[in-house]
């Protein structure tokens, strides 16, 4: 820090108003703490000052600085604007984008303390998480995303000019409806290179030589010229079925789409894929950022760089961010990811630095390791919400939050409390809570299983029903309509029980009238 201040104290700023010098000074101070004391590793930062209207704008286009045009963004804008203007809802203090350089938006209305908090939270907390978490490293391309969005925006604009608003909107509507079904959840099978291919070929050869049996030669061969009808499994294999990425399948295989329509599906699919890690790491991401800003603000206060008043202001907003209403509170709307994430991060530091006997029993590897910061950094790098909770939720924290689990069977007249925060319940509660954050479990398992290629080209989807919870009917029907619009022929969705394989419900949508595309 440069010693600009003539007063003997080391305050970085005074009062509530912010200006660029102050922001710069605060940034340098935070950077010092974050990099040298906490050992964070971040993308270069870019901080952008915006107005409330621009913040609303960014909200409605899912937080991205450039986005193609679609009515649904206008809809969200209209709603957010009304809620904001009527005072029902405040605006977020910041938005941060997983890109390199990492862009953080800060609002001009914020006080200097809020700007400090936001820089610590977004420009260092989220930024570190984006750069280091393995999900983000594996699935997102921080360097390329802004360029890609730029391309997408221009491309869609061009399509609108060439093919008309209505035609583009039709495809985008359908693609948006399928966004959750438009991600690859597992890394795709790598295409093999030549050397690997040759190696496998050799291995196959060797295997055949070892297991040669002359008997096979005597098996009668099919008569030449009479092609055997392709089996169902062969057909499925050819189409790459079953396929859970519906958008991908339609993009590659839908028979009646034109090139530009496939490209639109691809754009929406890429964007969905880009956001997939964020959906899976809500608790960790916010926990990480909240923990980082808390540490940094505390350090700034300890070293006398911010005033008591500023620190109190910070504490006020911090506590409202990590506030967790109890289940019988009117304000309760599920577990607050900020609260849970922050509590878990602090708990990890506690276990690493001051473990109890219980912690040593539950976390033999972690307890007493000493360096709490290193322990949380490791957690941030290697987990997602589900595995993180499964790994790190401690009995201590479960007691603190007084967690209990409720079993709700629609057939019973009562809800059953089946586990509480005691010795018998810890493991079950931890498992259940982890599953509550498992997207694979939360989102319905819907796959394309078959296409009747020889017949009417009917597309058949299966929903594997877990715990007897069916799909919301009217929405399912509407989405099927969208699929039919893209596919061009009849579409059928069968809800199959994952236990008994029994068919629970069928939805069907006829082929769209007129030519698709």
């Amino acid at each position: 820090m440069t010693a600009v201040i003539t007063k003997p104290d080391t305050l970085l700023y005074d009062g509530v108003d912010w200006d660029y010098d102050k922001v710069k000074r605060v940034y340098d101070a935070i950077e010092h703490i974050a990099l040298s004391e906490m050992g964070l590793d971040v993308y270069p930062n870019q901080i952008e000052v915006i107005t409330a209207e621009q913040m609303l704008d960014a909200y409605s286009s899912i937080g991205m600085p450039l986005m193609y045009k679609h009515w649904s963004f206008g809809k969200h804008f209209a709603r957010d604007e009304m809620l904001y203007r009527k005072g029902y809802r405040g605006l977020a203090y910041e938005i941060v984008i997983n890109s390199s350089p990492c862009i953080s938006y800060i609002m001009e209305e914020n006080t200097m303390t809020m700007q400090t908090l936001v820089i610590a939270h977004a420009a260092f907390g989220h930024n570190h998480f984006f750069k280091n978490n393995q999900l983000f490293q594996q699935w997102t391309d921080a360097e390329g995303i802004l360029d890609y969005l730029e391309f997408a925006k221009a491309y869609i604009n061009q399509c609108e000019e060439r093919h008309g608003h209505a035609a583009v909107e039709r495809v985008l509507d359908a693609a948006h409806a399928l966004m959750s079904q438009g991600v690859h959840k597992y890394p795709k099978k790598r295409t093999l290179d030549l050397r690997l291919e040759q190696k496998r070929e050799r291995e196959r050869q060797e295997y055949q030589e070892q297991t040669f049996n002359d008997l096979w030669r005597t098996v009668p061969k099919p008569v030449a010229g009479q092609r055997a009808p392709k089996s169902v499994s062969e057909r499925k294999k050819m189409l790459g079925l079953p396929e859970e990425n519906i958008l991908y399948f339609l993009e590659k295989k839908a028979p009646r789409l034109e090139h530009w329509q496939r490209e639109l599906l691809r754009i929406v699919r890429h964007i969905a894929q880009y956001f997939y890690p964020q959906k899976q790491t809500k608790v960790m991401n916010e926990g990480c950022a909240t923990f980082v800003h808390y540490q940094i603000m505390t350090r700034l206060h300890e070293t006398g760089q911010i005033s008591e008043g500023a620190f109190l202001e910070f504490l006020h907003s911090h506590t409202s961010v990590v506030f967790q209403p109890e289940f019988d509170d009117k304000r309760f709307s599920g577990l607050n990811p900020y609260a849970l994430g922050f509590a878990m991060m602090q708990d990890i530091v506690r276990i690493a630095e001051k473990p109890t006997a219980e912690d040593r029993q539950w976390f033999p590897d972690l307890a007493g390791k000493g360096d709490g910061m290193a322990a949380v950094r490791e957690a941030w790098a290697n987990f997602r919400d589900e595995s993180f909770i499964l790994q790190y939720l401690s009995p201590h924290l479960m007691r603190k939050l007084k967690l209990f689990s409720v079993h709700d069977d629609a057939e019973d007249p009562y809800l059953l409390v089946d586990h509480i925060h005691n010795e018998r319940g810890y493991r079950s509660i931890r498992k259940m809570l982890a599953r509550q954050y498992d997207l694979g479990f939360l989102e319905p398992d819907i796959q394309i299983v078959d296409v009747d290629l020889a017949g009417d080209r009917k597309l058949i989807l299966h929903h594997r029903v877990t715990n007897g919870v069916l799909l919301d009917e009217s929405d399912a029907k509407a989405v099927l309509r969208h699929i039919a619009n893209l596919w061009g022929y009849e579409v059928q969705l069968v809800e199959v029980s994952s236990v008994s394989e029994a068919i629970l419900k069928e939805h069907a949508v006829t082929a769209p009238s007129g030519v698709a595309g």
Binding site: V23, N45, Q46, E48, I50, Q54, L56, S60, S61, K69, H70, W71, S72, F73, G74, K75, F77, R79, E81, M82, R85, Y105, A123, E169, Q324, E326, F327, F332, S333, L335, K402, F404, S405, V406, H407, D408, A410, Y414, L415, L416, V417, D418, I420, I429, M432, R435, Q436, E443, P444, H463, V465, N467, G468, V469, L470, L471, D472, D475, A476, V479
Partner: protein, 430 residues
């Protein structure tokens, strides 16, 4: 680290999205706007409005599990008294989750609420309405003219010299004719001087000298600015359209007009005012009320002050004619008039009224709307088809090329339909 100030970036990035949204939800928004305008007073119709539309057309469906049925498990915080095996009464609202996941957003899916701006509201509200006879016939005779740019010309007054055009022409001519630049001449001079000082062979000095002379001559022959380069801005004068309108509100305020009738009249006047204001920059309003005598008054008096007396319509028409003569020459103003009455008139006045209307008023007016208001409960005479005194009188003034429209209104509900009926686009010129 970079700090970038984006506050001055172009605003309204979301405008295109908003327009797309409104277009998408158009039918529902129109319906909502019509409903909203029915519910509230016309006085505040000009403000933006919070409208609620059914979420149907703007729903964004996705595959998700339904809120009821099946077996669910939740983990929730804040246990106070429960132990394993306790049962809890199912909260009201069916088998839905007890405020756990899913409903976190708290957004009702049935309705979608948002605010329309004043302009959007009026656009939709007055959509498809057109002013009859928008082009003033007398515009040709109007004296007022305005200048508009009309390219360039080779002649004109020095004040209109277009410097940029002139210099551009000059530059291209100089390049085309290869006029030597001052720098080139200076260079040659320097070379020559150098050669002379060095005492090089005379032939070379001579050659340089000749070259220099040629260049100087050339730059003298090719002028820097030639008269053929000069261009002037050209202006055309075009007649200015009349962008102002005056609206006359005529109302019978005799004892037979009830509050209800006045209210109906007021609503109609407000609509007409809004509508004119959308079309013209400035709209003046003149309120004329009459009993057996007519008087120009202010708005407050017009609607709210009580008056007694007989009913002589011609006095109002006469007053209107006088005001037009005094203040609103027909050449400069678009004149609209709306008259509200319960249909009473002194029999002896009928002939005079129709004469005035037909010969003096209608030729000056763009449009004259006569609204006959009736008591809501009175389903009697007029409903049965018997026409009132004034209705019969005015009917005589109607003609194919006379801008006179007559309608009956009995209840508030009918105001807007009648108004639309009068100004609907396809009716124009019919």
């Amino acid at each position: 680290m970079n700090i970038i100030d984006r506050r001055l970036n172009p605003q309204g990035k979301s405008l295109a999205n908003r327009q797309r949204f409104l277009r998408r939800a158009k039918e529902q928004v129109i319906k909502a706007v019509r409903d909203a305008s029915g519910k509230r007073g016309i006085t505040d119709i000009e403000n933006g409005e919070k409208v609620t539309i059914a979420a149907g057309g703007v729903r964004e469906p996705s595959f998700h599990r339904s809120g009821s049925g099946g077996v669910r498990d939740y983990v929730v915080p804040g246990n106070k008294e429960y132990v394993e095996g306790d049962t809890i009464q199912r909260p009201d609202g069916g088998g839905g989750g007890r405020g756990a996941e899913g409903s976190a957003d708290g957004e009702g899916e049935d309705d979608f609420r948002f605010v329309l701006s004043r302009d959007e509201f009026l656009d939709i509200f007055l959509e498809d309405l057109e002013l009859p006879d928008l082009v003033k016939q007398k515009v040709k005779q109007s004296e007022s003219h305005t200048l508009t740019r009309a390219g360039y010309s080779v002649s004109g007054s020095p004040a209109n010299l277009s410097l940029v055009r002139t210099m551009r022409n000059s530059l291209s001519r100089r390049i085309a004719l290869r006029r030597p630049k001052p720098a080139e001449i200076q260079e040659l001079q320097a070379l020559l001087k150098e050669a002379e000082e060095a005492g090089e062979d005379l032939e070379q000095i001579q050659a340089l000298r000749e070259q220099l002379e040629r260049q100087i001559l050339r730059s003298k022959r090719i002028p820097f600015i030639d008269p053929i380069d000069v261009r002037y801005n050209r202006f055309d004068s075009v007649p200015k359209p009349i962008a102002q309108a005056v609206m006359f509100c005529l109302m019978d305020v005799s004892g037979s007009m009830t509050e209800h009738m006045k209210d109906l009249a007021k609503r109609f006047f407000m609509l007409l005012f809004l509508f004119l204001k959308r079309r013209y920059g400035a709209v003046d309003i003149v309120f004329i009320r009459h009993t057996h005598e007519a008087k120009e008054v202010d708005e407050e008096t017009f609607f709210y002050s009580a008056e007694t007396g007989g009913t002589v319509v011609s006095t109002a028409l006469e007053e209107m004619r006088k005001v037009i003569e005094d203040r609103y020459p027909a050449a400069d103003w678009n004149i609209y008039a709306a008259q509200a009455s319960d249909g009473d008139n002194m029999s002896s006045d009928n002939a005079k009224s129709v004469g005035l209307l037909r010969d003096a008023i209608l030729p000056l007016c763009q449009y004259f709307a006569y609204i006959e208001v009736a008591a809501e409960h009175n389903m009697g005479l007029s409903a049965l088809g018997r026409e009132t005194e004034l209705w019969r009188t005015y009917k005589q003034a109607q003609g194919p090329d006379r801008p006179l429209a007559m309608r009956r209104v009995r209840s508030r509900r009918e105001i807007f339909p009648v108004f639309r009926d009068l100004f609907a686009r396809d009716k124009v010129g019919a």
